[in-house]
Amino acid sequence: MLEAISLTKDFGTHRALDGLDLRVEPGEILCLLGANGAGKTTTINLFLGFLEPSSGEARVDGIDVRADPVGTKRKLLYIPEQISLFGELTGLENLEYFAALSGVEDRGPARLRLCLGHAGLARDAMDRRAAGYSKGMRQKVGLALAIAKQSRALLLDEPTSGLDPQASAEFHELIVRQRDAGAAILMVTHDLFRAREVGTRIGLMRSGRLRTMIDSADITASELEKLYLEEMKCSD
């Protein structure tokens, strides 16, 4: 569903992503770990068409993002570290707007309330202006959009960074539900524990390269931490 083929991105003389090859299949969560500047967010930006690759291809459902940026976005949902909603609008109105932008046909209030409910947003919060929402509530609106849109692929860029443990756990639960519903999920995170817990596979990135790819079932949390630290210590 999500596929990077020799994906490379240069910023001037700096190579931010170097020949990345990866695939994320439906029903799979691939967690990308790595220090800041490892190329994780650049990968997400290339899948979203926010950046033009220097070489290689980012494909969504077999379609090159460059060839059909709007079409590929129809199949994607993106949740960044900070979901910024329109503060003047309620959560429901925000969802209605983003659902409209996403081309969701059935976006009547009843269905959207259902989606918000499934995403875990309290009923009384749905009609409150989003200016007063916590980060966790905003992320839930993002997930509600994934539900409304029935996205076949999710791109998550440190979505739980800054959330309290309970909110983080709830969010990951919802992510797993999406995976079980058949979505292909590429999640960038610094949270090793959650990555091992929810990820099907884990990729370690450093200096724009994917260094290691492991099945999360084959590794314990402490082994993952050790491997991560060793990998980060290595010099090119």
């Binding site: 940026p69 994607l76 949902l77 960044p80 910024s84 329109f86 707007y97 983003f98």
Partner: protein, 464 residues
């Protein structure tokens, strides 16, 4: 399915909940209200001044008639001004256009009335009616009329409403989420800019038209063209704010860029164009012109002094005295002598105007001001048309006086009762010039949109 209605609905909702919008509209309504009041007062004062000048000729003739009747009743023979056609007083006045309250425009740079006498130099008939520019209050602050509010202040309010509509969202991260949706950036951003800008521009246009309609009812076509002018000018500013938002990534930078654009386009560019006009076609010196005319006039007078003196004691043997025949010869010489000076001055001024007319297409503010002046009838073209027509009328009155002299025809009571020939101003056609103003504003708007489209074609990466 088009996304435009959904995007427009969202933006409309946001605008309706934006507390700044009603405040901006209230500020505009107050400014426009005062400007209409001020403009209407100015227009009324001007109309009154012109009416007074026009009434002068009638009052003079009424007094003369009264004297004429008294003298003939006493068996005396009326003389001089009472019977000679060469002494007939005439006036010409430029009436206000229906929407004069809209803009003082260039009206105060040109005379609105003329005092005409058959022997007077046709270029000197306006001398007693030049006014306004010497008023320090006007020089210091300009007129606070609707045109000032529209050309100078409306762009500021539109900028206040739209200056960071996208850059703020780039800053907050909201732009990333929106552009991650399957929507073309051009559709998303331009629709939102249009709705946000229109939320202020459309009511502001309605307020302006309504206020002016209350102050000067009747000219529906003029009011419709006014609305079109405001919409075209305002759209240019909304498009410019949108364009700036496509290049900057923070609210502060957007505010600075929009403010600079306003300063550059509304204040500095018109001044630069005026300077360029002055460089390309320096305006002839009014002082040198006046001195030249005076000196030439005195030379002609000196050359005719003997003849005039001799005429004072001579008998003409005709109905009109020898002095008038001598004066007739003198003014013929004087006018022939002065005409090249008048033409040279007029041509110099026309060259400057011609340059200004070409360069104005570079400035939306000048174009808008010109369009509003034309609608108000306070533009230079109308004032110059009045001058041409008044001079032509002066020529008619001279021909009339000379014909009567040639026919030895003196004024009778019947001539007083039939009244004098009257000047009637024929409105010049303004359609083509107005269409050029509006067309050029439209082109500038399209140019800005085209630049925005080029930027949008570079893809989402350039917009974040």
């Amino acid at each position: 399915m088009s996304l435009i209605p959904a995007i427009a609905r969202l933006e409309r909702r946001r605008v309706l909940r934006d507390r700044a919008m009603p405040l901006l509209l209230l500020v505009f309504a107050l400014l426009a209200g005062y400007a209409v009041f001020s403009g209407a007062r100015w227009a009324a004062a001007r109309a009154h001044a012109v009416e007074q000048v026009l009434a002068e000729a009638d009052e003079t003739m009424a007094l003369r008639r009264e004297t004429f009747v008294k003298m003939t009743a006493k068996g005396e023979k009326p003389n001089f001004g009472l019977i000679y056609a060469t002494a007939l007083p005439f006036r010409a006045g430029l009436p206000n256009a229906p929407l004069a309250a809209l803009s003082a425009g260039q009206a105060e740079g040109y005379p609105a009335a003329a005092s005409i006498a058959p022997f007077l130099d046709p270029y000197a008939i306006f001398d007693a009616h030049r006014s306004g520019l010497e008023n320090p209050a006007i020089l210091g602050a300009g007129r606070f009329d609707l045109a000032f509010v529209i050309v100078f202040l409306l762009p500021l309010l539109l900028i206040a409403a739209t200056y960071d509509f996208w850059s703020r969202e780039v800053e907050s991260g909201s732009a990333r989420i929106q552009l991650a949706q399957p929507v073309r950036p051009a559709v998303l951003i331009l629709t939102r800019a249009a709705v946000r800008g229109a939320a202020l521009l459309v009511p502001a246009t309605a307020i302006t038209v309504l206020l002016l309609a209350l102050a000067a009812p009747g000219d529906l076509a003029g009011l419709a063209l006014l609305a079109l002018t405001i919409l075209a000018y305002g759209s240019f500013w909304i498009a410019l704010a949108a364009l700036i938002n496509l290049f900057v990534r923070s609210s502060t930078t957007a505010a600075l860029a929009c403010g600079t654009a306003w300063l550059g386009l509304v204040v500095l560019l018109p001044a630069a164009l005026a300077a360029a006009t002055e460089l390309a076609a320096p305006a002839p010196s009014p002082m040198a012109y006046a001195n030249g005319v005076r000196a030439a006039g005195l030379e002609v007078r000196a050359a005719n002094a003997k003849a005039i003196k001799a005429a004072a004691t001579a008998e003409s043997g005709r109905a009109y005295p020898a002095t008038l025949w001598a004066s007739r010869r003198e003014i013929g010489e004087r006018d022939a002598r002065l005409l090249p000076l008048h033409h040279a001055y007029a041509e110099g001024a026309a060259r400057g105007r011609s340059w200004a007319d070409r360069l104005r297409f570079l400035s939306p503010a000048v174009l808008a001001q010109d369009a509003l002046d034309r609608l108000a009838g306070t533009d230079a073209a109308r004032a110059l048309a009045f001058q041409d027509q008044a001079r032509s009328f002066a020529g008619q009155t001279r021909r009339l006086a000379f014909d009567w002299m040639d026919q030895d025809r003196l004024l009778t009571l019947a001539d007083y009762d039939h009244g004098l020939p009257r000047f009637a101003f024929a409105e010049p056609r303004r359609g083509i010039a107005l269409a050029a103003d509006l067309g050029a504003l439209g082109l500038l708007f399209i140019l800005v949109l085209a630049l925005a489209a080029l930027r949008l074609r570079q893809g989402a990466a350039k917009l974040l």
